[in-house]
């Protein structure tokens, strides 16, 4: 009876210790490690051996593992940040070179810094989210969603600045749907699929509700642009759906 109580106590402490592992590792192995510790406690209890020595050894051994995994995790995060920073710099070369050859493209240094931060931020979001699941379709879904979301946000920002028409801010509701949906879905593939379909539907609704009266060529271009974004969000949703179904197999 006393061993049972002690065992429960040790298991509670062990579960708390496991929280010190980096999150991805904990999500992958935390349950299994707790189960293994439970099995070891049971083995000792059945052999009528005390649990103190076992708990002391396992706690020490696991603590060493925690230090090792955190060190590895930090070094991987550092490498990822460096890769994303270099990637963002490479992408920044496009507007940098374009500003030299395209007439009227006159960003100041602050503009380039702002764009670099946007590229870097988007890249880091991809790097962090894409490692949630190993399936290629999940990673591709994240990539397509981020590229489409970035392009929509960017083009809208430019459009609002040029036209000074605050009505265009309605397009940000598509991104808001994406942000809230991703948060509610906890980045799980199934929920993200629904989120992306909801984003596509929101954008299609905005396109339908646009006031008519624009010249035909403008209306046609707008329709094509909306269609491309709706197709991209839908494609991303389908990729997440594929990842979700693959995860169930």
């Amino acid at each position: 009876m006393a061993t049972n109580v002690a065992g429960r106590g040790y298991r509670t402490w062990y579960a708390m210790l496991l929280r010190l592992y980096p999150r991805p590792f904990r999500e992958r192995f935390g349950e299994g490690m707790a189960q293994t510790f439970h099995d070891l406690c049971r083995e000792h209890r059945d052999a009528r051996r005390g649990l103190f020595g076992l708990a002391l050894w396992i706690f020490f051994e696991t603590s060493v593992g925690i230090v090792r995994e955190n060190t590895t995790h930090m070094s991987q995060l550092g490498k990822t940040m460096l890769r994303v920073a270099l990637g963002a710099l490479a992408v920044l070369m496009v507007p940098l070179v374009a500003s030299q050859v395209v007439e009227g493209w006159n960003w100041d240094a602050g503009g380039f810094v702002f764009v670099y931060v946007l590229f870097f931020g988007t890249g880091m979001v991809y790097a962090v989210i894409a490692r949630k699941m190993g399936a290629w379709s999940y990673k591709a879904g994240v990539g397509v969603a981020l590229v489409a979301g970035f392009a929509l946000g960017w083009s809208n920002m430019v459009h609002v600045a040029d036209s000074e028409n605050p009505a265009n801010l309605v397009y940000y509701s598509v991104l808001a749907v994406g942000g809230v949906g991703a948060w509610l879905a906890r980045l799980e593939a199934r929920g993200l699929a629904r989120t992306l379909f909801a984003m596509a539907a929101t954008l299609a609704l905005i396109a339908v509700m646009l006031p008519s009266g624009a010249p035909p060529y403008v209306a046609r271009n707008m329709a094509i642009l909306h269609g491309v974004f709706v197709a991209l969000f839908t494609a991303s949703g389908l990729l997440f759906r594929h990842a979700s179904l693959a995860g169930l197999k």
Binding site: R28, F29, G32, T36, D39, E61, G65, R68
Partner: protein, 115 residues
């Protein structure tokens, strides 16, 4: 034991023991631990920190993979995650055993001939 493949690189004792334990079938964490203990006649003692840390790196290297969650009839009704060898894992184990056999042959030759 870093990235994919590893067939040529010597394996760490923990990785070798885990591969050996899984060579006869899929096992859950505790099952692997017990098998390692049995294979080494109690000489190798592996705690959850070493076991799961090694398994994480082995999964990244494609040597093992999660098999399924299921009930172990000998333990209780809790669901456990089972692990199994991949083709690359089996190849890495065979390659390591071949390397060991080579080392043993050299060592025995030296002991017999004295040089």
């Amino acid at each position: 034991m870093a990235k994919k493949n590893t067939a040529q690189a010597p394996l760490t004792p923990a990785v070798l023991h885990i591969l050996l334990a899984l060579s006869t079938g899929e096992r859950h964490g505790y099952g692997i631990m017990k098998q390692v203990q049995a294979d080494s006649q109690g000489k190798a003692k592996m705690g959850p920190g070493t076991l799961y840390g090694s398994m994480g790196r082995m999964m990244e290297a494609g040597l093992i993979r999660e098999s399924d969650k299921r009930i172990d009839p000998e333990m209780d009704d809790e669901r456990r995650i089972y692990y199994e060898l991949t083709g690359a894992g089996r190849a890495a184990l065979e390659s390591e055993l071949k390397r060991y056999r080579g080392v043993v042959a050299v060592a025995e030759g030296r002991l017999v001939h004295g040089h």
